[in-house]
Point group: C2
Chain length 267, copies 2
Amino acid sequence: MRVRLDISYAGAAFHGWATQRGLRTVQGELETWLARLLRCDAVALTVAGRTDAGVHARGQVAHFDLPEEFSVSDFEELELVRRLDRVLPSDVVVRKISLAPPGFDARFSAIWRRYVYRLADGTFDPLAAGYVAKVISPVDVTLLNQVSGVLLGLHDFVAFCKYRSGATAIRTLQRVSAERVGEIIELTVQADAFAHSMVRSLTGALLQVAAGRRDESWLKALLDRSDRCGEIPVMPAKGLTLEAVGYPPDCELEQRATQARMLRELN
Amino acid sequence: MRVRLDISYAGAAFHGWATQRGLRTVQGELETWLARLLRCDAVALTVAGRTDAGVHARGQVAHFDLPEEFSVSDFEELELVRRLDRVLPSDVVVRKISLAPPGFDARFSAIWRRYVYRLADGTFDPLAAGYVAKVISPVDVTLLNQVSGVLLGLHDFVAFCKYRSGATAIRTLQRVSAERVGEIIELTVQADAFAHSMVRSLTGALLQVAAGRRDESWLKALLDRSDRCGEIPVMPAKGLTLEAVGYPPDCELEQRATQARMLRELN
């Protein structure tokens, strides 16, 4: 039996999602508490989006497999959501825990990840300072939306990514759009998947154009590069939130997971 | 010439509004930067609501008097809002700076202060954890709104206040109402003025009733006490935000200030 978790967290006090020895991470915190509540040696979580240090999440999805001795009613009696709520610190919340449909894999079944980067180019509510990045130059949101179209579709985003041996940055960007919401600018970026630091670099590159320091042809040329581009500022982690992860209808979960796994191996 | 400031801040990293030697306070931070930008020895701010350590503000109001050598155009050329935005840390924002109308006094002209206490009795967005207090017991918001009416009007709120020599806690409570906004409960409390720790104690007392631990008669009896009541939990500072301060029409500013000053002296 596979269990799906829907998770939110504030990234400030975590060294990212993935377990690192001796450091506080979201995965570490959750695996520790799940193992205690399930009274088993260890729980291994698989996650949809391995967020970096300081990045927040509102719609993170993960899964783990229940030890074999558990029945459905055992699982339900555990009341994991309620009990996790009692023990977890206030910067991580497990919103929902459910038995996953057959073929579900939090990472490989996902068909999209949606991030929002929040920034402000003027004064803004200091209560939001934990998840909004301040920028000095005024942002031309209309211009940003005009030029962002060149990034859509299947591209090699290597110019925007930190190098990782053996990994490619070929991704399909499905949506890039910005809007002012009160004093804050929300830049929504959605793709089948993202490579390391990709959203923060995409945001940084778009802001270069929206502030008038670069033009559309510079942005377009980035897609032709075969190496990381040092001219792109990587925006601070605190502005970034993983908002949602999309999955296909249940009947396509397994097929999607198989495809995604093959693609990763080809890469 | 008197200058009015409209200020927002996140309280977590401040030891409250009022200057304290060796501690970081909102008043200290602002007075230091204003004196630097005005190139004068010292600026003395008068504030509408002296918030405690950890309490936030979205609609705080303060004033100071410009040194005599400044003209209106000198003041305008200073562009204080823009320059403060450049130098102030991200947890305090001066939203607006304007020349105050005759008779204006940020403290004594005010006719009401409105606070909102934010709490959650279930899971909630961890990005909001800095300004929302978590409570364990479910809150009956309907019941809370039913009983809160007994607190309205002119009362001695001494049961709800930390003792301060020579100060009274006679206040007119103008509004108490709670509502669920998504996952959060917002308790709005408005009065002509508040005594020390009064909003957090009012919230604590109302939650005792809303959680079924006390009844309306207990709440009502608190208003007849002549000393602080140890049965009232003082809620954590981080849930509290000063949202707005109200002033009368300009022609009544001076009269109101005179009245309020006299009342304070009688007290």
